[in-house]
Each structure stands twice: as structure tokens, then as C-alpha cells.
Symmetry: C2
Subunit: 356 residues, 2 copies
């Protein structure tokens, strides 16, 4: 009963966020029509790339907001939708940077436009260029409008101004994380565990956990102590989430995660696992395989064995639990209302539940 | 006397805009320091890429504002700086799309980061990737903060909201124009003159002329008739400007324009000149040369001769004058205050004075 009740609330919130986004895209498409059908199509493609997500960031906004007594769900849905658009902008441009044409096995914006151009008989080079161009433009539109949705949320001046600062912080940190990530990928040496955690926090955790939770609390008119404790909870659980994500990228079940477990290895992605492994004896056996674009399934199995054998896997699992527990400790602070604790505890459990 | 007086006013305005931008970047660099020296460097590079411009869009904002009686020059400088940042964002991402590593002969953000990576011993491919990544990120920061500067301008709620709509329209149109431009470059056929004018208007004229002039007028509290006439003036003169720019890209003097007169031909840029030429007998002699990346100076001279001989050059010059005169007719409307007319007449003259 409890569980299904929770699901209902969560579904209701998602419906409201979806409605805001649907309205936003409907307006944009109508407006785009004056510029020609190609522009409408770009907006449709952008919309398609925001649909089907888990609406994770809007859920963080709305969970904090409602648990702290907020009742203007329309305004909260706007702020949630703003974070969803920011997320879309960041992953669309991240894919441009990584030269990726798919995300979770489905063509992204670059991929959609590349495929359209290829079907129209363009060469591969021209088709890829078409794809990347569309993604740069679409990401710009999403980014700009993430701001715009806060503006249209109808909240008062003082709160709006603070929300915009939070959104600004989200982008500011994410841009820093993206830059460091690019540097890490280029560097010959594998960075230290701490540096990887920091990069992952900036690039993803700040805008996915810390800022949406803060925004929800600010919108609810919560005190500074609650806002800052929520930010700390978001930071800890966000770091835990990233570590788990790295674990699942190598040891996960594709059917569950929708993510291959060979992609990160082939790409040579710098993760906590790899950073740990470099400091072990096993590294000499494994290092030539990490980042090999032609890594076979058999070799990948061998890498997994070595990453387990050298202790990297259990280290990462332990680290995720450590950050998860730090997050839970924040929730136990006396100024956190019990309704909020009740809502966020399952979030932390869900993150850690992914490690098995 | 008059001329130097005008220059003083214009220099004074530029100083104020520069001061807003300097403060903005100083804050951003301080804040970036917490994320590491690489991030400070990215902000420095972004700042370097906004310095040295003609501050054309801020000048449009401030000219409209002051001529319409506005006295809060600080606020106007913020709005002007916002348009300057939007401009920076758009050209930085335009260079990503065009895979350009220089602008007017100087390394742009992609070029700066590519050169740094190359100097650190990276392969050409990795170095280019580093450059493009930095440019995607820096453009995002500039774009987001163009909004932010309007927010920080200190103007009241109603005006702020309208200014943000104008800024939104600027990006909305520019993204459409960029998309159409990419399509044009891929298409086998040369588009019609009208379609090229429309694309150039969307991509550049709206955000460079129409919107900054509107923003200045709105900030000054001007009536709707003045705001919309200024938008029309901006549209006409903006189109004239683009046509002149295309002319200078082929027939200009590099020493004066800082732009090569062979780049557009080598790139096969779709311009009014080319669109006109396709409908003439001379096209068969010229078409194999347009878009030839190895076009020699001698061949370029031959193209110029043919574009002149077939009437494309005089057609484009005439078209620019036609739009220039339409712009001047807007200024003659009775509800345009004479101070504004006096300030904007030289703007139109300067645009047309470039055709000779």
C-alpha cells in the first residue's frame, strides 16, 4: 500500500512536469512554423529527446518542495521542467563533445539528423556534420529555455532571483566538470580517485541532485539550514550515484540498466574503478585492455575479473556505501522535517540498491 | 566638431559596456578558481574572445536608449553587454559548426585550445577535439549568461520580462537561421535570392539590429509605435548590412575589412551574388570554381570578373541600397524623435558607405 501510494504521488508529479514541457514545446513548435518546417522538425526532435527520461531532476525539485509544505505544484513543475531542459541541453552537448550519435542505443539528435542526411544521399562526412550542427543548435535552445522556464514559473521576484542563482550554479559547475573530463580523457596518466569523484560531482551530481533539491526547498520557503543540509545530502548521494553508475557501466546487467557493460571499457573511461586499479599489481595485466576500441567480450570478462581480483570493485562498492551513509546522516539532522526524511530515504536506498 | 562629439559619446558608451563585461568576467574568474586553474583559463579565453569587437550590438541598444531619453546608462550597459555575450555565444558555436579554428585570422576558442593541446604533444585529432570541446562549453557559458546579465541589470519586473522576450526572440531567430544555413550549405542547388536574404536576416540581422534596437527602446519606456518602427528599421538595415558583407567577402579590401576576399569563394558560401549568378549565362563558366577549396588568387580574380560581368555585383549593390533606403524611410516616420533620427542616420550611412 505504502509503496503504491508513493508511486501515485510520484506519477502525479511526473504528469505535471510533462504537461509543462508539452505546453512549452507546443508553443515553441507553433512559433517555429513561421521559420519553416525544418525548424519545427528541430523542435520536434528536441522534444523527442526530452521524452522518455526518468524526470529524475524534476522529481528531486518536487519531492523537496512538497515535503517542505509547498502547495503551488504548477510553479514547482515549471522549476522541475527547467532542470529537465538543462539536463537535455547538457547531454546533447556532451554527445557533441564525445562525438556520440546514439544514447542508450537510440539515435540522439546528432544521430537523427545524421541518419536523415544519409538517407537523403549525403556522404558520411556531410551527414555527420549535419547531425552535429543540429545538436549544437538544439542544445543551445534547450539551455536558453531552461532559464526561460524559471522566468515563466510565475514565482515572485525574490524567489525567482534565488532560483536563477541555483540554476546558474548548476551550469557553472557542470561546465567545469565537462572541461575537467575532457582533460582527463586526454591525459596520459589516470587521475587519482579523489579527482575523479570531484569531476563527476561537478559534471553531473551538482545539477542532478544538489541544485534541484535546493531549488525545491527555496521555492517552498524553507530556512537556510534546510536548504544547505539538502544541498549536502544531494552532494553525498550524487557522488554515491556516480560511483554506482561507474560500477554498473562495467558490472551491470544491460537488460536492467539499458547501458552496455563494454562501452566504458572500450572508451577507456576514467572511473573510480580504473583509478583504484592503477595503484595495484594487477594493473600491468589490465592496462593495455582499457581503452581498446576493439575489446572483445572475452577480454572484457577478463578485465572484470581483474578489476574484481585487485579489489577495485569492492573498493568502489564500499565507497558508494560510504557516501550513501553520509547522505543518510544529513537526513537525520533535527531540522529536517520527517516528511522530507520519509521521502528522501527511499531515494538514497534506491541509489545504493543498485549496487549488489 | 560634430563628428568628434559623436565619437566621444560612442566611446563613452563602449567604456561603460566594457566595464560591465570586465566586472562580469572578473566575478566569473574568481568563482571559477574554486574549480581549478583550467576553468579560470577557459573563462579567460572566453573573455579574450569578447574583447576587441566593435561592440556593435551594445551600441545599438545604447543609441536607441539614450536618443529616446533614457538616463540609466548603467542598466543600458548591462543590456548591451547581454547582447554582446549572446553574440559571442553564437559566433563561438557557429565556428564549432563550421569547424573553424580561426576568426578574422586569429585563433578562436577552438583554435586556442587546439594549439595548446598540440603544443602539449597531442595528435592533431585529439588536439582538435580538445579545441571543439572547449568551444562548446564556453559558448554554453556565454549563452546562459547573456540571460543572466539582463537579470542583473537591476531593471523593474515588467521591463525585464519584455527584455527577456526580446532576447529570446533573438536566439530563436538565430537558431532558425543557423539551421537553414547548414541546410543551404548541404543542398546541391543554390537557393533563391529571397531565401538567402531570409536566412541571413534570421541568422544575424535579428539579433544584431532588430532586437538590440528594440531592447534599447523598451528600456527607455518608448511607445509601441516607436519600438516596432525601430524593429523595422533594424530589419531593413540588417538585411542591407548582410548584403554588403557578402559583397565585401568577395570584392572588399582585406586591409579594411580584416576579412579575406577568397574565403567565401573557396567555401562556396551561398550569397546573394551567387544566387543571382546562377540565373545568368556566365554561371557555366564560374560554377566549378565556387566552393573549390584550392581556388587560386588568379581563379578568384576570374570569378570576381564574371560576377561583375554577369551583373551580380551591381544587382547586390543595388539591393543593399534598396534596403538601406527602406531603412531610412522608417526613420522619417513622424513618431520617431529627431534625436533618434540624428543618431541612426549615420548608422545607415555607415552600412551603405561600405559599398563602393
Amino acid at each position: 500500500m505504502d509503496g503504491s501510494g508513493l508511486l501515485d504521488v510520484s506519477q502525479e508529479r511526473q504528469v505535471q512536469v510533462d504537461a509543462v514541457l508539452a505546453r512549452f514545446f507546443s508553443l515553441a513548435k507553433n512559433r517555429a512554423a513561421a521559420f519553416g518546417p525544418e525548424y519545427v522538425q528541430l523542435w520536434q526532435t528536441l522534444e523527442a529527446n526530452t521524452i522518455g527520461g526518468k524526470r529524475f531532476r524534476p522529481r528531486m525539485v518536487m519531492t523537496a518542495y512538497q515535503s517542505l509544505g509547498g502547495t503551488d505544484l504548477e510553479a514547482a513543475a515549471y522549476i522541475g521542467a527547467a532542470f529537465e531542459l538543462l539536463h537535455t541541453a547538457l547531454i546533447v552537448h556532451d554527445d557533441v563533445i564525445d562525438h556520440d550519435f546514439t544514447r542508450r542505443g537510440v539515435p540522439n539528435i546528432s544521430g537523427t539528423y545524421r541518419d536523415l542526411a544519409a538517407a537523403a544521399g549525403r556522404t558520411e562526412r556531410v551527414a555527420e556534420h549535419s547531425g552535429i550542427s543540429a545538436a549544437v543548435i538544439a542544445g543551445d535552445l534547450a539551455l536558453f529555455n531552461s532559464y526561460r522556464l524559471i522566468d515563466r514559473s510565475g514565482v515572485g521576484d525574490v524567489v525567482r532571483s534565488r532560483l536563477i542563482e541555483v540554476m546558474d550554479e548548476a551550469l557553472f559547475a557542470s561546465a567545469a566538470g565537462e572541461l575537467i573530463d575532457v582533460d582527463f580523457a586526454m591525459a596520459a596518466d589516470v587521475p587519482r580517485v579523489d579527482d575523479i569523484l570531484m569531476m563527476e560531482r561537478y559534471k553531473t551530481a551538482v545539477y542532478s541532485f544538489e541544485c534541484p533539491l535546493q531549488a525545491g526547498a527555496i521555492l517552498a520557503g524553507a530556512g537556510e539550514d534546510v536548504v544547505s543540509t539538502l544541498a549536502e545530502f544531494g552532494r553525498e548521494i550524487g557522488i554515491a550515484y556516480q560511483i554506482v553508475d561507474d560500477l554498473l557501466g562495467v558490472f551491470g546487467l544491460e537488460a536492467e540498466t539499458g547501458k552496455t557493460t563494454i562501452g566504458d571499457l572500450r572508451e577507456g573511461k576514467r572511473t573510480v574503478l580504473i583509478a583504484y586499479a592503477t595503484r595495484t599489481r594487477e594493473w600491468d595485466d589490465v592496462k593495455h585492455l582499457i581503452g581498446d576500441p576493439d575489446l572483445s567480450e572475452e577480454q572484457a570478462a577478463r578485465v572484470r575479473e581483474l578489476l574484481t581480483g585487485c579489489g577495485a570493485r569492492s573498493f568502489a562498492e564500499g565507497l558508494a556505501r560510504y557516501y550513501g551513509n553520509r547522505a543518510l546522516a544529513r537526513l537525520a539532522e533535527p531540522h529536517i522535517p520527517s516528511a522530507l526524511r520519509t521521502e528522501l530515504h527511499p531515494v538514497a536506498d534506491a541509489v545504493l540498491g543498485r549496487v549488489k
